[in-house]
């Protein structure tokens, strides 16, 4: 008899993996992006199983927007060709497959041998406050750095995308 938790885990894991595979294997870039959303939603579900509701909401919110933008770009930039064959493999896909498979086998082997020791304690029921305390307390400097990183990234992205105007 499966517990509710275990059932949810297996369902979500299956959805996530299947969606991720579809992202990689789909030949249509827009389909890939749509499956990516499914993978993200599955991941968000896994976060909820791990009592990280806040992170799950962040995941959905940020990635829904991000992926939507990705799709827009995908559509815009592949308008010229056939959308049904817009997401093809490059010449080194065989090598890539071997590398990925090898990495997976290696990690699985290692995982089987690991013996984790739990640190004890239990998770607070309302961990939103704990996250807030952590971000604005212990991790305030990384938080600010991340903010600056975002700002720099936005400015950089705008400059790169628009291009610097030549002197007239």
């Amino acid at each position: 008899m499966l517990s509710t938790n275990a059932l949810a885990f297996w369902v979500l894991a299956a959805i996530t993996i299947a969606a991720a595979l579809a992202v990689v294997l789909s030949k249509n870039i827009v389909h890939s992006a749509l499956f990516l959303i499914l993978a993200f939603v599955g991941t968000a579900g896994i976060y909820i199983l791990l009592h990280a509701e806040f992170l799950a909401a962040v995941q959905v919110m940020v990635y829904a927007g991000a992926v939507a933008v990705l799709i827009v770009f995908a559509v815009m930039l592949t308008r010229r060709g056939d959308i049904r064959a817009s997401n093809l493999y490059n010449s080194s896909y065989l090598g890539a497959g071997i590398v990925a498979l090898g990495l997976f086998i290696a990690t699985s082997l290692m995982l089987g041998r690991m013996n984790w020791t739990a640190g004890g304690g239990s998770m607070a029921a309302n961990n939103v406050e704990a996250i807030a305390d952590a971000i604005l307390g212990r991790f305030v400097i990384p938080f600010e750095v991340a903010a600056i990183l975002l700002l720099v990234a936005i400015v950089g992205a705008i400059i790169v995308a628009r291009g610097v105007k030549e002197d007239r």
């Binding site: 509710t4 827009v30 389909h31 509701e53 799950a56 909401a57 919110m61 829904a64 827009v72 939103v128």
Partner: protein
Amino acid sequence: MAIEGIFTAIIEFCQGLLAGTPSWLQTLGLGVLYLVGVLAFVFLNVLYLIYLERKLSAYVQERIGPNRFGPHGLLQSIADAVKILGKEDITPRGADKWVYIIAPIVIFIPATMLYAVIPFGKDLIAADLNIGVFYFLAVASTTTIAILMGGWSSNNKYSLLGAMRAVAQIISYEIPLAFSIVGVVMLAGSLQTSQIVAAQEGTWNIVLQPLAFIIFFIAANAEINRGPFDLVEGEQEIVAGPYVDYTAMRFGMFYLSEYANLLSMSALAVTLFLGGWHGPWLPSWLWFFIKLYIMIYIFMWVRWTFPRIRIDHLMGFNWKVLLPLSLANILVTGVGIKIYQLITIGRW
């Protein structure tokens, strides 16, 4: 009061029926109950929202509005629903078939999930999540994807334009929407909707956060593609935007989801700013409904008064006006809370 607890009694009754069964069955049973309840609520309300919208627009425009089917045309929406079910279901050639078919279903998923965190009355909340408001925003943001799916898969230039607009508009306006809520969250000290409502027992947040309410209202209008911000449909420019090629029930699903979003957004506004279910004399859920419909009325009133905004003004207004204002609001709220604390308890 007996009417007060009518819905909680129903839920308790259903829970009693499920008592003794395995836990997963209880979860599933309650989930199904939630889904049935929400769907019934959404469909009933939406049918009458459509009627209400048509009637209100008619009154504003010195017309009579639907009045043929049923007394005062009260059954008009049902007739329309039957009609739309009987229409030919068209899938355009060249459309991305699966995406095209799934899009109207996908748009309904967030529309129904949103109601989980709305406290409809005292103890009348499906899932009192600790991230309530944030959950609402996160789920609401996925509507973009469904619109984008519909717009792209129809393989129509008008719908593609509409889908692009949807992405630009909804993603941009999410930011001031979220930031306007931050003030409320700071006052309540929690993201939990039930606690936000509890914090408004004395004064409603609209009094404490008038600017946030205005920003919220504008951004919400843009989020649900209504009123002066209905660029996604943009009937005069891009005909019906992403819905151009949809017919029959698929179009009906989009149409319903628009009103479902209006309903949920108004419910959120009531929860956050209008004191939720608080109110004297009447049962709490009735108060919630009264406020909900006042809010919806304002949304409709605005829609039938204003012309559509231009796309570059839309973006400029968001980034240059709403966003700084909402940030300023957060700052003022923070300073205000600290000053209040200084006055009342004598320390920061």
